[in-house]
Amino acid sequence: MSGRTLAPAAGAFSAISSSWNLVTGFFEWFGDLALFCWRVARATVTPPFEFRELFRQLDEVGSKSLPLVALAGGAIGVVLSLETRYSLTRFGAKSLLPAAIVFSVIHEIGPIITGLVVSGRVGAGIGAELASMKVTEQIDAIEASAVNPYKLLAATRILACTLMLPLLTLAADLCGLVMGWVALTLVEPISFHQFISNGFKGAGFNDFLPPTFKTAVFGVIIGLIACFQGMRTRGGAEGVGRAATSSVVLSSLFVILADVVLVKVIIIFFP
């Protein structure tokens, strides 16, 4: 009898306890992230600067992501061209097709695709690399050599992501537009010059610069989350795997959430 009454109480206690752990874990994660941001920010602005490592990371993040970003941008350009043509033809607005493609690509598709592709490739790479260094005590060895790991490892990678994302976005935009035009011209021949002049008719710098430079924020997010998850890893190979996965998942999620906020901010400040 008493056993029957105790069982639900124990279950409820266990549920409350695990919920409590989840809540404290959530706040602990954000607290640790804030502390990490502070250390990285301080390391970034304090000399000496790690220029050689920064250039290595610019190559790692930029040049090596370029083919993937260009391919993704091009593929999205083709899909967008085919889908938009179909929709606009149905509504009798086919003449707006170049503008629809150009605006879609430079306003949203190019930046977000670049953000997601880089968070997949670079986020996983940074997360796994730093996690592996952490579990094999290489980060401790850097610190024991009187070198600040937040400066050498984190600041350089975050800066590289921040600087490279807008440039990669330009590449994705360009490939998207070229491939969008190719897909269109195969069905209905139109010169590239005409496609671009129709597409950019009425467009100003406000249509082009803010969406491109908002990807610098995506870069900060990807670099920060991947470095944070990598450098706080515990455990062996399993920990490395967990860090790589969580780097990709969290950075992609935060990139999408940041995009929601940034789109609204851009609409307000660059109408």
């Binding site: 005590e137 290489q138 401790d140 060895a141």
Partner: protein, 262 residues
């Protein structure tokens, strides 16, 4: 022989002015969650002296080294390097102290994306910027020659055996000519011949540089060979500290147990 009760008084006397001891650890406590690893450790090491810290696995020997170099923070107690308390120092100030310390990690912790030469050159590149590229190369070759690895400059750490990795780790630890050398299990996982070679190497470097050294090990033979004094950790405390003979003549049960099973 010095028992646990006598240690605090002895170390207090030795470290009172803070100048004599290269490393002075006082009443150091460290827990991980509910597990108490160090429960009031007090130790001092002077310049030119080698202290071997012995103990079973999980007694906090490696944690003690990481606390000394500031990689972990103690719950209470103090770590003084050349009389200066490292608690609360900024990363930059701590860095200045760390430049005077060389640390050989248990698994060498070589940077796996760098060659042997780049690994040893790493501290020089960051802290001896006045050295030209050729001077740095020359210094790296010299350091690697000291540990018998001069022919392996271009190799990657993954191409080296455990013993070779430890030699390279030792060369890297010596790169900045430290006053204090911390060795975490230098002979762990090595065959008896390689262990003997590492012991000889540590002795030779000791004679050459006259550093204060702390060697964490559970290899009694190695400790006997390279250390002037030995300290045995048991349940988070220093069970005994003294010479090898002091340990052998001890009546303390955990010391007798350790010697019997070593």
């Amino acid at each position: 022989m010095t028992t646990t009760d006598q240690l605090a008084t002895k170390h207090q006397a030795a470290g009172e002015d803070g100048s004599a001891a290269a490393v002075a650890v006082e009443d150091l406590q460290k827990s991980f969650g509910s597990q108490k690893v160090l429960n009031g450790i007090t130790l001092t090491v002077n310049r030119g002296e080698t202290l071997a810290v012995l103990g079973r696995s999980g007694t906090g020997k490696s944690v003690l080294l990481k606390l000394i170099v500031g990689l972990q923070k103690p719950d209470s107690g103090s770590v003084r390097i050349h009389g200066r308390d490292i608690a609360g120092l900024s990363l930059d100030r701590l860095g200045e102290i760390r430049k005077k310390m060389g640390f050989l990690f248990q698994h060498a912790a070589l940077y796996d994306s760098l060659t042997v030469e780049q690994n040893v050159a790493f501290p020089l590149e960051h802290h001896r910027k006045e050295l030209s590229k050729s001077d740095r190369h020359h210094r790296v070759k010299e350091l690697l020659a000291q540990v018998g690895m001069e022919g392996n400059l271009a190799k990657m750490p993954s191409d080296l055996s455990g013993g070779m990795q430890k030699r390279v780790g030792l060369a890297r630890a010596l790169a900045l000519e430290p006053d204090i050398l911390l060795l975490d299990e230098p002979t762990a996982g090595l065959d008896p011949i390689s262990s003997g070679e590492i012991d000889d190497l540590v002795l030779q470097l000791q004679e050459q540089y006259r550093m204060a050294s702390i060697v964490v090990t559970h290899d009694l033979h190695s400790a006997k060979t390279i250390a002037d004094r030995l300290a045995l950790l048991h349940k988070g405390n220093v069970a005994i500290e003294g010479t090898f003979d002091d340990l052998q003549n001890s009546d303390v049960e955990c010391v007798k147990d350790f010697l019997r099973n070593s």
